[in-house]
């Protein structure tokens, strides 16, 4: 249930951001829109492929839709982080290139691998690694931007709502990254059964917090905005 709500919100956000990118002709919205849309498609297909009750042929088909979609989502996350936080910086271009190679290698490992067979038993560590890395970078940059924006806010140079949005982004983006890490850890400690169990629990807890952070980032209710502004004014006086 929670996973479906997260999936619906993520898909909705994807279309909303892609539409915003077309209207505003902005690259950042295009990348985050593609990230959401690909994540929604990838989660609904790629992660369902590991259901042991599924027909193996159907599972492979789902995997061949889901893994490329999740790879596109990872690449979009790298591109968004670069575009928003590090545009024009040479070392950051290197990080994006490394991320692209890591994600492509992970996808190849999952879909083909050294044995030439798609692995529908579990998400491979090679794939999870590429997935986790894109979230780690984005989370670091968002939280760093939050720290800097707080200092600007003290000088009256930053909108408190935007400052808060950096924090919210860092939270839900980080949680999205924790999800594959949890799966990898569960598999490492308890095998495939552990991964299946974690896949049931993880999304429920993490998903709930993510829903709240996503809604507050992209659809902030007026009451919440007023509260953020009042808190900032209180802190300044």
């Amino acid at each position: 249930m929670t996973q479906s709500i997260v999936g619906a919100i993520v898909a909705l956000l994807g279309f909303r951001m892609l539409w915003a990118a077309v209207r505003r002709r902005t690259l950042a919205e295009a990348w985050i829109g593609l990230f959401f849309a690909a994540s929604a498609l990838g989660s609904e297909t790629g992660l369902r492929a590991f259901d042991p009750t599924l027909d193996p042929e159907l599972a492979v088909r789902l995997l061949f839709i889901g893994i490329p979609a999740l790879t596109v989502s990872s690449l979009s996350a790298y591109a968004f982080t670069y575009t928003v936080f590090r545009r024009g910086e040479r070392w950051a271009r290197g990080v994006v290139l490394a991320g692209v190679l890591l994600s492509a290698w992970g996808a190849w490992h999952q879909l083909h691998g050294p044995n030439g067979v798609a692995d529908i038993s579990h998400l491979q560590v090679e794939f999870l690694l590429g997935r986790f890395a894109c979230f780690a970078w984005g989370t670091y940059e968002a939280l760093r931007a939050y720290g800097m924006a707080r200092r600007r806010r003290a000088l009256g140079l930053a909108d408190p709502v935007v400052v808060n949005r950096f924090l919210l982004f860092g939270i839900w983006f980080g949680l999205m990254g924790v999800m594959p890490l949890t799966l990898a850890w569960a598999r490492f400690t308890a095998g495939t059964a552990g991964q299946m169990a974690a896949a049931g629990i993880g999304p429920k807890i993490i998903g709930m917090v993510m829903i709240v952070a996503l809604v507050l980032t992209f659809f902030p209710p007026r009451k919440y905005v007023s509260w953020v502004l009042a808190s900032a004014n209180e802190a300044r006086s």
């Binding site: 950042a28 024009g88 800097m148 200092r151 600007r152 000088l155 140079l157 930053a158 935007v162 949005r165």
Partner: protein, 102 residues
């Protein structure tokens, strides 16, 4: 690292008015910006005015300039009449401000 035209102008002003060499001027300005949560590559004219008023004088005082306050007032007056081109691409703050809009 790329720096905004405002940053380059301000660093040059500090060098001219304080007698610090270019490297020290840029370093002092970078520290002031860091304390204010600002970046050299996206510094705008409005932000620079606040940095001069609130942060730069303190940094210059630490480097032995007793008349830092009046020096900063003169720099700010010079800044007011300057015109700069657009500062590179959108800042992260501009993008994040858009994310919550309908």
């Amino acid at each position: 690292m790329n720096t905004s035209p405002v940053f380059d102008w301000l660093a040059n002003e500090i060098t001219t008015r304080t007698g610090l060499d270019a490297l020290k001027s840029r370093g002092t300005l970078r520290i002031a910006l860091q304390n204010g949560g600002l970046e050299p590559r996206t510094l705008t004219k409005d932000q620079a005015a606040v940095v001069i008023n609130r942060l730069l004088a303190h940094e210059l005082k630490l480097r032995g300039h007793a008349d830092a306050a009046s020096m900063c007032m003169r720099i700010e007056a010079a800044l007011r009449v300057m015109l700069f081109g657009k500062v590179g691409p959108d800042s992260a703050e501009t993008t994040f401000a858009r994310l919550g809009r309908k």
